[in-house]
Symmetry: C2
Subunit: 490 residues, 2 copies
């Protein structure tokens, strides 16, 4: 009964003249975005893209990416957004794991795509220019909320990424919960400079379409360009990670906070307290959020008026979502006690694609066991103590040590390795590797760095290598990551 | 999965300190409203109110009414809001028709309730003061969205009111659709001076709770009091009917529009063009809406920025709702052609309680045939030409001629009668009766008016009686209401 039309088609009827997308000096209203999406649907279908197909997108932020997101939803195909910063080896693994039928690229990623051979057809946006036989047939399509909209890969604790399957319903409830926490106004404009292949970026596109409001799309985060766009496009909302905040504060301390901005949604990782204090002093309307791919982005969000009073907390769960803090046995803990964050609600993914064991581990009785650690205070506000014990967040990208360690262990002269995140004022954390070489092996940082090239995306590669004779261990003989971090770099 | 808690319990966790309700100088935040509701649940349960019970409310606007709405939802009981302006005869009929188990009143309506004997227990709010055995057990309850929240009576075309069954899901989607059309902000305050027994008032309570925003409740519409409350309580939203607008404009032309008001939602009936022009000239942020009880209030709404450009249109359907204009055979008509308004979407009622024939007539393939007449223009904006051909809207209250005619026909000296709405600057329309007396009968307006007393609510009673020898008829020998109205009063 909610499936009369997809969201874009509804907005094209409901707010045809309202601005939907602004990118690189181009502007689409909802009627135009709908037409362009219908045309793209027609072209994709003519090439053979069909309902149920899995379509990987290897694209930087661009208007075509936004069209693709809407077109695949309309076609009933599944989006598999790929991180353009990954190596060919990493990309090939994800494409195979997701059984992709198609790989969409554009001129910027063509050569990257060409290097990826497999059971998928490669299609460049520039090829999609044939006349459309029947564009109108794609204008109004029923949207089945229970269908998977996208499979979004997250770094895996076990060394391999996992593809979180997010349904249209997941995104719908996420958008509604966000609307009631942050407010929504017909003239809102959300500046999007996060990558569209991350859930934080993707969710802005879907959410804004549901609201009938505008997205101001930037190709990437560039402090001057973003600051200029915030002002010139009169953006009211903006999603960012702490690395971006750090750089923007340098500008805003000179120029002031962009005047139309009513909410800057800060996600990604626990930002340094000093940075938050700086933002508060400057009057930045920060909303701090805790979210993860497996819950379609925001789980808990502290809105700006709360942020000013309780700096550092991620606030309360969005409407319809509930939070529990549990101990190692899964028993709920009282307020103030630290444990694992467990999420329940309609934004929780339907599972990891093709990884039943990982799904069973993360989803128990429909609840998402995040692996992240935190506590609820007496007001039921969430404080995230640290992300999954071993997760490194660097410049908004998640890096799982296990993945980096697995690569380094392939080196013939490495006996043991532990990869950790080291605090970094600008990047939040940077990746560092503590290596135990095989006895007597002449191992250099340079050699290891060269070894990682082509195997690990740049942001995952250790910024520093530290050679030790042994790693500290816990009672159960596991590497004692915490002790290592505390001792680091000594 | 959306049923973790009812909306009030969620807000009590999520925004405990946010203001939920302001009434007669008293203020409740969400934590307090939740506690008070839990206490009322306990007391109602101790008296025997149980899940599935039907609980009629014969109450003026008051904070207790708001608590009752939330408490019945939490208990899984069904609210049957009664219009306090009805006569005992009319009320008794509705109580019986709805098979009510309980009749809730307060000191203001006690004597009215006492006069109503039947198979229901009468309970006054003032009796609900016993100590509660276990208030906490009522604090968090699962909410099944498919349950009927309320049975709201609408005047019937066939002479008897019909009870529209509205589910929690109907209200949920209505609230969401309204949010995206009008915007919602955490600090919003909705002034409510419409009766809570009408869907227009009831929906404000449910919607605001879902948003976590505040309701400023007024006992009734008094222009000075409402204007004062709008200003003093810094109301941002306000629902009204054209009679109210008429009176408020007189004030606002002196004092200016209350400065915090961002949207005045005008429903009820097609307001005179001159009135709308006056409001526009003054800069009133009017949103014109077309709604009806059977669709949980708003169906289509023109937001303030559109109203200024296209005065008189009810705009586009809310998100998830769709509109069709059909001919007498139910075939869709193109833009510009006038026909019956048909509504499809998740806000459409599940049916009329205990009236399968009326339900089958109104709901066909899940679509609501409203009986109202209008057209869609080339922009897909709705223009309501007139409400159900024979519906009279006077001061925001719906009056069905059939109901009034049925009473007048009971008079021994009345041969034929036709009740019509006559344009009235202040009330929109007033009720007039055109009567054919039995041959030679000495019938006076005074006698007929006295005859109506006690049988019809005051607002339904004809303001004037006109005696004629015969009524104009159509080709099919029905009374030609349209011709009669055109000729009126000559």
């Amino acid at each position: 009964m909610l499936a009369a039309q997809d969201w874009l088609a509804q907005q094209a009827t409901s707010r045809p003249g309202a601005i939907a997308l602004i990118e690189a000096g181009r502007t689409w209203n909802y009627a135009q975005l709908n037409e362009a999406t219908a045309a793209l649907c027609g072209r994709l279908a003519q090439h053979g893209v069909a309902p149920g197909h899995r379509v990987a997108a290897l694209l930087p932020n661009c208007a075509e990416y936004v069209l693709l997101i809407h077109a695949l939803a309309r076609l009933g195909a599944v989006l598999v957004p790929l991180n353009v910063r990954l190596t060919s080896q990493e990309l090939r693994w994800q494409l195979g794991q997701a059984h992709c039928d198609w790989l969409l690229c554009n001129k910027d990623t063509e050569s990257q795509a060409a290097a990826l051979q497999g059971n998928w057809h490669v299609l460049a946006f520039e090829q999609l220019n044939s006349p459309i036989e029947n564009p109108f047939s794609w204008r109004e399509c029923a949207l089945d909320l229970s269908l998977v909209q996208g499979i979004v890969y997250t770094s895996g604790t076990t060394g391999r990424p996992k593809g979180a399957m997010l349904t249209h319903a997941n995104h719908l409830w996420s958008a509604l919960g966000s609307a009631f926490r942050l407010g929504v106004l017909p003239h809102d404009r959300w500046l999007l400079c996060l990558p569209l292949y991350h859930v934080g970026g993707l969710s802005i596109v879907l959410r804004s379409c549901l609201y009938g409001t505008a997205v101001v799309l930037e190709p990437r985060f560039d402090p001057d360009a973003v600051d200029e766009a915030l002002r010139h496009q009169r953006a009211t909302l903006f999603s960012l990670v702490s690395t971006m905040l750090h750089r923007l504060l340098d500008l805003w301390e000179q120029r002031g906070v962009p005047p139309t901005l009513r909410c800057a949604l800060l996600g990604g990782s626990g930002a340094p307290q000093a940075l938050l204090e700086r933002a508060r002093a400057l009057g930045v309307p920060l909303a701090a959020t805790y979210g993860l791919t497996e819950a379609a982005s925001q789980v808990a969000t502290m809105p700006p008026h709360g942020f000013r009073k309780k700096i550092g907390s991620a606030g309360k769960p969005l409407l319809w979502t509930s939070l529990e803090i549990v101990d190692d046995q899964g028993n709920p803990l009282p307020a103030g006690e630290i444990g694992e964050i467990v999420v329940d609600g309609p934004t929780v993914m339907s599972g990891y694609d093709g990884q039943p064991e990982a799904t069973a581990c993360a989803l128990r009785n429909g609840k998402l066991f995040t692996g992240d650690v935190g506590y609820l205070d007496d007001d039921h506000d969430l404080w995230v103590v640290n992300r999954r014990t071993d997760l490194i967040v660097t410049g908004g990208e998640n890096v799982y040590p296990a993945e980096v360690e697995a690569i380094l262990l392939e080196h013939p002269l490495v006996a043991q390795v532990c990869v950790v995140g080291v605090p970094d004022e600008e990047w939040g954390q940077r990746v560092a590797a503590v290596v135990v070489p095989k006895t007597g092996a002449p191992l250099s940082a340079k050699a290891l760095d060269a070894f990682c090239e082509g195997k690990l995306a740049g942001y995952k590669r250790p910024r520093s290598f530290h050679f030790v004779e042994a790693l500290p261990t816990t009672n159960s003989d596991k590497v004692d990551r915490r002790t290592l971090i505390e001792r680091f770099p000594s």
